[in-house]
């Protein structure tokens, strides 16, 4: 009996490995082709696929960097500004809101909490039309600000921060700091924020990535070329007369859009994967 169980487990282990290897291959294969093709010249690419990289990496990179019609590096800079600012204000204000609802008692507390929970997964697309009209009225059309400021209200980040506070901030600490004569804002900035650092780091990564990849709203808001973020540039590339382009350059453009996130991910993968589940349902 014992031997039989071990045997079946052995078979299952083998099957599990085969499936995992196939899936990993699927996940990595397309990026592998991307990287290889970004190192080859247009004429090489026309001849067909080769598994080995070519020597055109730097040349393709320079031709992307010097292209005026698709200002990729300006786009990356814009994306960095938008994503960086969004991540910063989104995590700061979500922590502030979470702390406000966690540490204080007030009349509307329960209603406020219920309200945020109710809009937790509301898609932003349903208000896009009014949003577009509003920012046009406010004179913020075709600027980066409307992509940054609304991230102050991020219900899912709030929920994550709230759960984190519940598990790691004893209210006695807040009391102690009050007794020491620390003001409320100072308590938040000097005592609560440092405690929340791990949660803030995880959520900063996620909101950065979310903002970096966001396409729907920026595509509606941004018009001029020098303000475009990376996803809009990719979309413009798709809409352009594609066949007349240098293919090596196209692969390189896709690569510069994807690779920064991959590098960040590989460096921080441990925290990111641990952070995925924390924002989910309570068990």
């Amino acid at each position: 009996m014992d031997v039989k169980i071990k045997k079946s487990d052995h078979v299952r282990t083998v099957i599990a490995h085969v499936v995992l290897v196939i899936l990993s291959f699927l996940c990595l294969f397309f990026f592998y082709i991307l990287v290889v093709n970004a190192t080859r010249s247009h004429s090489d690419l026309q001849k067909g696929f080769s598994a080995l990289p070519g020597g055109y990496l730097i040349k393709n990179f320079l031709s992307v960097a010097n292209d005026g019609t698709f200002p990729m590096f300006k786009g990356i800079l814009n994306s960095l500004i938008v994503s960086g600012c969004s991540a910063a204000i989104c995590t700061y204000f979500s922590s502030l809101t979470a702390y406000g609802l966690y540490a204080y008692d007030f009349k509307l507390k329960k209603i406020a909490f219920t309200f945020i929970m109710a809009i937790l997964v509301m898609p932003t697309q349903v208000t896009a039309m009014g949003f577009l009209r509003l920012i046009t009225g406010m004179g913020m059309y075709d600027s980066l600000l409307p992509l940054i400021i609304p991230s102050i209200a991020s219900p899912s980040v709030f929920y994550f921060m709230y759960s984190y506070l519940q598990s790691s901030l004893p209210l006695s600490l807040v009391e102690a700091s009050r007794i020491d004569g620390c003001g409320e804002f100072k308590t938040f900035n000097r005592i609560v924020l440092p405690i929340m650092k791990p949660a803030i780091a995880v959520q900063a990564i996620f909101s950065f990535v979310g903002s970096w990849n966001n396409y729907f709203v920026p595509a509606l808001v941004i018009q001029s070329k020098d303000k475009m973020t990376v996803p809009i540039l990719i979309a413009t590339l798709r809409g352009a007369d594609y066949m007349s382009f240098d293919m090596g350059k196209i692969y390189m453009m896709i690569m510069v859009a994807i690779v920064p996130i991959i590098i960040v991910y590989l460096l921080l993968s441990k925290y990111i994967i641990a952070g995925v589940t924390l924002g989910g349902v309570k068990e």
Binding site: C27, Q46, L101, Y104, F106, E184, Y215, A235, I262, V281
Partner: protein, 316 residues
Amino acid sequence: MKPKRKSISYSKWGYIFILPFFISFFIFSFIPLADTVRYSFYEFYRSGIKEIGPNFIGLENYKSLLQSDMLKYAGNTFILWIIGFIPQIVIALLLASWFVDIRLKIRGKQFFKVVIYLPNLIMASAFAMLFFTLFSTNGPINSIFMSIGIIKKPIDFMGTVFGTRSLIGLMNFLMWFGNTTIMLMAAIMGISTDIFEASEIDGCNSIQRFFKITLPLIRPILAYTLITAIIGGLQMFDVPQILTNGQGTPDRTSMTLIMFLNSHLKSRNYGMAGALSVYLFIVSAILCFIVYRITNNNDPDGSKAAARKSKRARRG
């Protein structure tokens, strides 16, 4: 000595701290929502450079949307979602139960987790652009297939309904199965090991264990995953938009609801866009309500409901 001190009220600070969130929500979500709902009752569009409206027309926009291709696009959205979601949830359940099964000696678990989660962080639009170039008729995938000898002529993946939909499904699958796996893994790890050990002593095999113990116990998280996936599917935009250049080719069979909304917004057809948004809002409000019920459930494992049921059964 100073009895007043005790009654210092800190409640004003609570309001101050949550104020930025609610102001921002009010300005950037609530006013736009009200505006959207309002104009959904108006004839308001732009033809050429002339702006027509706003003239109040009641429910006309809603009616004409129902007569337009909206329902077809809703069907498309559903099909595109389901062909990505079914493999996603099956594979995720399988991987999650393998990853937590201590009797399987899986090597490089961390490596596999990192790799399968990777596509989730990739920019969807760049990923779609990549697929567009890779699967084009003279792209590398066709060239690989031809050199192996599977096919003689290049396949026009994006020329057929089946090809386009499969590609979109494949992309959605690749982007989301890792995320779901990790979510479900955490859920399964939350189950007490005693239950698994007891089942083993009772002679439960791995398939029985999966269907009789693991699945029922992770039901709340499974439901959460399903509903959030439906909401995600409803918002499907980047991948089909970039892959088909906003056209939903061939013959608008891969046009999703949000792509439809986007085209109305781009052409400044505010009345129609408003009505479509309201339809989407109603559907997502229902889904939000379900998520709210799941996340705020005080009976997460269904044990109370089961107890009530058995009580009734005993009485009856």
